[in-house]
Every structure is written in structure tokens, then in C-alpha cells.
């Protein structure tokens, strides 16, 4: 079976804050991926192609460490409520070894992302995404282009020259954003009290949303199961 179901036990811990943090709380979350989200590469049935190595041999290894591979494609951010406008930052999405590094980045709206070419060959970064359509053209090793992302959304970038290269830039509408660690954990501090929507975006599986309430003081604990279990579906 190609698809490996991996059930991860999960604990979500939300720690309540003291009196000190009456106007702000903290979110500690844990994203639980209940099975592999990425459709594993399918090899061509009866014709072996160059560069299309059969994936079946790798799948046992992938089963053992599904989390790392899935969590690296994941980004979370808060949305809604009365969040302060995000402060633009800078990020880098490098082209290295014919791959984008990292695979997923998350930046607040207005940020500038640099696309340095670290390979000794040309790349041509482009995106068709509605959040930002871009085509950086060919540029050689050592050069870089910088793009500013002014609209929130997902920008998936590809290379015209290398069909296997892809990455995604999540342009978040707030500054409360994170990429979960290898265990799926993340935390947002200094979140104003209120009701928000926790948005998780997985490069293969898309958006997952869950309401989260941040109390005046204290810690809100959030557990998000991806994909969303039917029983817990809103």
C-alpha cells in the first residue's frame, strides 16, 4: 500500500498565563498529522525513466519518519480578530542543488523574499499563484532577485528549467506565524486576547482552519489534527 497511515498520539498543552499577562496570552499548539499528507511519487507503471526512480523502495524509511517530511511542508499563522498589522520582514528562498531551500517559508505581508541562485547552473523562478505572479527570468549562479509580497495568500514557486523544483511562500496576514518543529509544535507569544482562526497550510494538503480563543491571560492550548477528523469537523 502506497499510502501509509501514520497515527500519532498527540498532546496539546496550553499553559495559562499569570496576572502579568492580562492583555496578552500565549498559544502553544501541536499539529497532529494523522496520516501521510503527501501523495507519494508514483513511478511509471512499466517504463522506467531517467530520474524517475521507483519510490516504493524508499517507502519503508519514509514510514518511519513521516513527521519530519510532512512538518517541513507545514506553516501556521493566526488570522482574524483584532491583530495588529504585521511588520514586514525579510526572508530567503535559495535555489540549491536543484531544489528550493527551504521547501516552505512563511512571511508576513509586505515582506521581501530574496531568491539567490546557489547552483552553478541557471534557474528560472516563476509563480502562477494569484497572490503573486512572478517570473524572475534566467539568472546565473551567485545572483539573486528580491520580490516583495504585498498580498496575503500562497505563492507557489517553480523553476521553468527544473520541473521537480518547487516551493511555497505563505504570505500571512499577521505577524503571528510559525513553522512547526519536527514534532509539530509551535507557539505564539504576546497574542492579544480574543478569538482567532488558526490556519495551517500544508504544501500538499492545503488549508486547515481551526478557531482558537486566547484568554486575557494565560495560555491557550490548541490541538489541530490534520486532516481534520470527521468527528471534529466544524
Amino acid at each position: 500500500m502506497r499510502r501509509t497511515f501514520v497515527l500519532l498520539s498527540a498532546t496539546v498543552l496550553c499553559l495559562g498565563g499569570g496576572a502579568l499577562s492580562a492583555r496578552a496570552g500565549e498559544i502553544r499548539g501541536h499539529i497532529v498529522i494523522v496520516h501521510q499528507l503527501t501523495k507519494q511519487r508514483v513511478s511509471i507503471p512499466d517504463y522506467s525513466l531517467r530520474g524517475a526512480a521507483p519510490q516504493a523502495a524508499e517507502s519503508p524509511a519514509a514510514e518511519q519518519t513521516p513527521i519530519a517530511s510532512e512538518y517541513s511542508k507545514l506553516a501556521v499563522f493566526l488570522e482574524g480578530g483584532s491583530l495588529p498589522p504585521p511588520a514586514p520582514s525579510a526572508a530567503t528562498l535559495a535555489q540549491h542543488n536543484r531544489q528550493f531551500e527551504p521547501e516552505v517559508i512563511i512571511v508576513p505581508v509586505g515582506s521581501a523574499v530574496a531568491f539567490p541562485n546557489l547552483d552553478p547552473i541557471f534557474h528560472n523562478v516563476f509563480s502562477l499563484s494569484s497572490a503573486k505572479q512572478l517570473d524572475l527570468g534566467y539568472y546565473p549562479a551567485g545572483e539573486s532577485r528580491t520580490v516583495q509580497f504585498d498580498r496575503p495568500g500562497i505563492v507557489q514557486v517553480y523553476c521553468h528549467l527544473h520541473p521537480d523544483m518547487s516551493a511555497a511562500i505563505v504570505v500571512a496576514p499577521s505577524s503571528f506565524l510559525a513553522q512547526p518543529d519536527a514534532n509539530g509544535r509551535f507557539s505564539f507569544s504576546d497574542v492579544p486576547a480574543g478569538t482567532y482562526e488558526l490556519v495551517a497550510w500544508h504544501k500538499s494538503a492545503g488549508f486547515f482552519r481551526q478557531a482558537v480563543v486566547v484568554p486575557d491571560d494565560g495560555i491557550s492550548e490548541v490541538t489541530m489534527t490534520i486532516p481534520v477528523r470527521k468527528a471534529a469537523a466544524p
Binding site: K39, Q40, R41, A52, Y158, H160, A168, G206
Partner: protein
């Protein structure tokens, strides 16, 4: 009743009929053997053409997949598929993305020989598709609800032969790309028919629809596991059905090629009809000739014998001249036996003839003996006639006939009363008329015996005169056969040189005169001349003999007289 057939006919029929039978049986067997051979060949050709088709198909499929693998590595297509993840549940955005993908597919499909290009997402749901027509490309709308990873797909009622490859992005699968070409069942049956079964149901067929239930039941039945093909009869025509194996179809689909054995047979026999016809015709004519020649060669000596027998049957003479030199030993033996028989018959015939002749001669002598005046008449006439005939140089056979004929010439006098025949003194007119009947009476006596036919003219006509004043018919000149004319001369001569009851024999001078006077009236002049010269010679000889013998007997006397 037993049918009677001549020997040649019998031999001919036997030879001809048997050769024809052998020929016919040969052709029939040949035809049957050919039929089997053709069936085998047909099967082989079907199998090999299936192999070729299969090779072609798998090559096509390989090429398709190669091509597809290249096509699927299209960054634009991948980027467009990625867009779908940005806009879940947004129909407008989705249709926008779909248009983007269609645009990519238009570009991909341009110049390709496929008729359908389809992209599905990673869950197998079709996302966008393009139909490639000869005039251009059109979006596939509506999209099929789902697309099976199947070698044959049905889209908008059209069956396509499809090849599908995954669209991968790194280690991730984004979906699949399917290219398809319309499945044309007719292309699978270049010379015959084809039927495509899906789960043992007829999906497509080149047969008329009315025949399909019958075919399907056959194919589900005896042909289901017949990998070597099976024979079945559809609408009275015999077909060879062969499963055309496609490895990628597994057991889901089954394609059967149908080849009409009858049509193939008809084609073949049409090709060879002329050959069959001509060899049959030549064989028959050859058999006819051989049978004819054979019957002739076998029966010819036999029929020759029979012909000779027939001839001798007609002539009444069985000649010992049957040929014993023919090529058939038995016929030679038969001929030899016949020859022996003929010899025996001839011998006995000759003996019989001799006996008859002796009898007749005896009768003639008895007749002569009735009258002392005519005693020896027949013998003398015979001798003189023979002499004349020999002098004329006639062949021995005719001389012999004249000799015997002359002996019998007066046989008819048996029927003349003694009173007339032995009358002393001259005859009255009536008596003379009676005498005149004797040639015809003699003829009547002798004509009953076949062997005496040759003597009849002499017996009947020896009183006819050269000038036509004779009796019984008054024939003249050469109307009377030579034999009769000769005997006439000898007869008259003997009559006038013999004593009669009423007169003495005439002296030689008078005889000579009478004979000369009658030459040209009674007798043919040449014959008289010949006869007289014979007589002269005889006279001279007599004189010489007398003179020669006289000294012998008289010498002592003469000597004595001379002594005296």
C-alpha cells in the same frame, strides 16, 4: 439380364472409370488435406499478425509513455496543478485554474497524434481535458466524474485506448496525465472481424449487432480459455477466433480476432481453381487416351482374330492363316489353336470334296457306261479340255476346275430317259428338246453342293455357241465362260470322233473340216486353232512314236525280211 459389352468397351470403361476414380479420390483428398493445411496456416498467420499487432501496440504504448513522461515534466502544468491547492472550494478560481491547465494542454497536444489529453489530480479526479480534433483542440466539457487507471476509457461515449503517467513533483505525486487515442475496433481486424469484451460483455464489435449475443455466448463458452484459438460458426460461416493478448489489459478486457475460414478457403480455391480445373481436365483426357490406347492394344489382336473368323464365316472357308505374331501371348496361342482347327477343317473339307468328286466321277462314268457308244466320253472330254486349257497357259487352278468340270459336264443326262438317250436312229424334235435339258438338270444337281459352284458354268453352258445359237440360254462370245467354251470344243470333237448307234465315227479329215467350219460359229476360233494344233502335235508324236517303236518290234522281222 447380363449386359453384353464388347471387349474394347469393357477394357476402356474399366481403365477409364478406375483412373477417373483414382483421380477424383486424389483430388478429394488433396482438397481435404489443403483445407486442414489452410486452417493451420490461417491460425498461424492470425497468431503471427496478432504478434505483430501486439508488438506494434506495445511499442506504441511504450512510446506513448515515453512521450507522456516528457510531457508530464512540464513546470507550467505542475504549477497549475499546484494552484488548485490554493483555492479549494472556490468554483471561480477553480475554473480559472482549469482554464490555465487547458491552455497548457492545448500547447502540449499541438502536433501530437493523440485525440484526448486529460489531467487528473492526485485523487484521480479529472481536472481538465482537451480533445484534439483535426481542426484544432477543444476543451473536454463536461469532464468525466472520475477516471480509472485503465488501458481503455470511455469518455463521452467514445472508447479510448489510454496511457497514463503520474505527474510527480519531487517526491510528491500531483496527479496524472492521460493521453488517449480512439480505440478503433476495425483496426484490429485488417482482414476479418474483431470483438472486444469487457468483463465478458461485448463492448465493441465489427459484427452486426444482431449476431452479438450468439458470439458472446460462444466466447464465454468454449473460447474463454482457448489461447490457441477456437472454431465457431456464426450465421452459418465458420470462423477462427483467436484471443489477442494485451498484457496491460489483464483479464478485464479481452479482444478476439475473427478470421473467416470459409472466405479464406474460397480465396484459396479461387486462386487454385484454374490449376485444379486444368489438371483435372488433362488428367481426364489423359485417362481417356490411355484407356483408349490400352483397350485398343489389348483387344486389337483379339478383334483381328474375330474379324478373320467373321470373314471366314461369310466365305465359308476357314483358312489356317491366323496371325500368331501379335503382342499378346494368349491371343497367339488362340490363333495357333484356330490355325490347327482350320487345318483340320480344311483337311476334312478336302477329303469330303475328293469324296464328292469321286462320287460324281463315278456317277459320270456310270452314265457313260449306260451306253457303250459314249463309254469313256467324259474322261476323253476332260483330257482334251485339260490339254486345251494347258495349251492356253491358264493357271493350274483353272485347269483343274476345267478338268473336273469337263468330267461332269454331262451329269445332267441322268435325268434323260434311257429311251431317248439310247435311241437307235435319229431323234425326233421332242426327243432332241429333252436332250437339250441336260445342262440345266446337271446344274440343278450340282448347285446344291457349295463346293461345286465353280463347275456349274461348265456343266450349264457347255452347249452355248460362239455365235449365240447354242442352248440353254443362247449366250454368245465371251458371255460364256472360257471353261465352258473349251469343254464345248472338246465335247463336240469327241462326239463326232466316236461311233454312234446311228453312224460311224468320222474320219480325221472330215473331223478336221467340221471343226474348222464350226470355228467362229460354234466355237471360238482361237480354241479350235489351239485344239487342232494339239491334235496335230499328237498325230506327229504318234507317228514318231510309231516309227520309233516299229523298228524295235519290227527290226528283227525287217532284219529277217532283209535276210529273206
Amino acid at each position: 439380364m447380363k449386359k453384353r459389352l464388347s471387349l474394347p468397351t469393357r477394357i476402356f470403361l474399366l481403365a477409364f472409370v478406375s483412373v477417373c476414380l483414382v483421380l477424383g479420390a486424389g483430388f478429394w483428398n488433396l482438397n481435404r488435406a489443403m483445407r486442414e493445411k489452410i486452417k493451420d496456416r490461417l491460425k498461424e498467420s492470425l497468431q503471427s499478425s496478432e504478434k505483430i499487432l501486439d508488438t506494434t501496440a506495445s511499442r506504441y504504448r511504450k512510446r506513448s509513455i515515453q512521450m507522456l513522461a516528457v510531457l508530464s515534466e512540464n513546470p507550467g502544468l505542475k504549477a497549475a496543478l499546484g494552484l488548485l491547492q490554493e483555492v479549494p472550494g472556490d468554483p471561480d478560481a477553480s475554473s480559472q485554474v482549469r482554464k490555465t491547465i487547458e491552455a497548457t494542454l492545448f500547447q502540449l497536444g499541438r502536433g501530437l497524434e493523440y485525440e484526448l489529453i486529460l489531467v487528473a489530480d492526485s485523487s484521480g479526479r479529472p481536472v481538465a481535458g482537451t480533445l484534439i480534433r483535426s481542426w484544432g483542440t477543444v476543451p473536454l466539457d463536461p469532464l468525466p466524474a472520475s477516471i480509472e487507471p485503465s488501458p481503455l476509457i470511455e469518455v463521452q461515449g467514445v472508447l479510448y485506448e489510454a496511457s497514463t503517467v503520474p505527474i510527480n513533483l519531487g517526491a510528491e505525486n500531483l496527479g496524472s496525465l492521460t493521453v488517449a487515442r480512439e480505440f478503433d475496433i476495425a483496426s484490429w481486424s485488417p482482414t476479418g472481424q474483431a470483438v472486444l469484451l469487457a468483463n465478458q460483455k461485448v463492448l465493441r464489435a465489427t459484427f452486426p449487432p444482431a449476431l452479438l449475443p450468439e458470439i458472446a455466448s460462444h466466447l464465454r463458452g468454449e473460447c474463454l480459455n482457448a489461447t490457441q484459438g477456437c472454431k465457431l460458426t456464426v450465421a452459418g460461416e465458420q470462423y477462427l477466433a483467436l484471443p489477442l493478448e494485451r498484457p496491460e489489459w489483464q483479464d478485464h478486457y479481452q479482444l478476439f480476432g475473427f478470421q473467416s475460414l470459409d472466405t479464406a478457403m474460397a480465396d484459396f480455391t479461387q486462386d487454385f481453381w484454374g490449376l485444379f480445373f486444368w489438371s483435372g481436365l488433362i488428367g481426364t483426357v489423359g485417362a481417356l487416351l490411355v484407356a483408349f490406347a490400352g483397350s485398343r492394344s489389348i483387344s486389337k489382336p483379339m478383334t483381328d482374330l474375330i474379324l478373320r473368323l467373321k470373314t471366314s464365316e461369310n466365305s465359308g472357308l476357314l483358312e489356317a492363316a491366323f496371325p500368331t505374331e501379335s503382342g499378346v501371348e494368349e491371343v497367339n496361342l488362340l490363333a495357333a489353336a484356330l490355325n490347327q482347327a482350320a487345318h483340320a477343317v480344311q483337311e476334312s473339307q478336302e477329303r469330303l470334296q475328293e469324296a464328292s468328286l469321286e462320287f460324281l466321277e463315278t456317277m459320270a462314268r456310270a452314265l457313260d457306261a449306260r451306253d457303250r457308244y459314249t463309254a469313256g466320253h467324259s474322261d476323253r472330254v476332260s483330257a482334251n479340255s485339260t490339254a486345251i486349257a494347258q495349251a492356253l497357259g491358264l493357271p493350274e487352278k483353272e485347269v483343274e476346275i476345267i478338268r473336273i468340270g469337263a468330267k461332269m459336264h454331262d451329269i445332267g443326262k441322268i435325268g434323260i430317259p434311257d429311251a431317248v438317250l439310247q435311241k437307235q436312229g435319229p431323234l425326233t424334235m421332242e426327243e432332241y428338246d429333252l436332250i437339250k435339258l441336260h445342262p440345266e438338270i446337271g446344274k440343278r444337281i450340282m448347285e446344291k453342293v457349295g463346293q461345286f459352284q465353280v463347275y456349274l458354268p461348265i456343266v450349264e453352258l457347255h452347249h452355248e455357241d460362239w455365235d449365240g445359237r447354242g442352248y440353254p440360254h443362247g449366250l454368245s462370245g465371251e458371255e460364256v465362260p472360257l471353261g465352258a467354251r473349251i469343254v464345248h470344243v472338246a465335247d463336240v470333237y469327241d462326239a463326232i470322233t466316236s461311233d454312234r448307234a446311228y453312224r460311224k465315227a468320222m474320219p480325221p479329215e472330215q473331223v478336221r473340216e467340221i471343226m474348222l467350219r464350226s470355228s467362229g460359229t460354234m466355237f471360238e476360233p482361237v480354241l479350235v486353232e489351239t485344239f487342232l494344233s494339239i491334235l496335230r502335235k499328237r498325230q506327229t508324236l504318234n507317228n514318231v512314236l510309231e516309227e520309233a517303236s516299229a523298228p524295235c518290234y519290227e527290226q528283227p522281222a525287217r532284219a529277217s525280211s532283209s535276210v529273206r
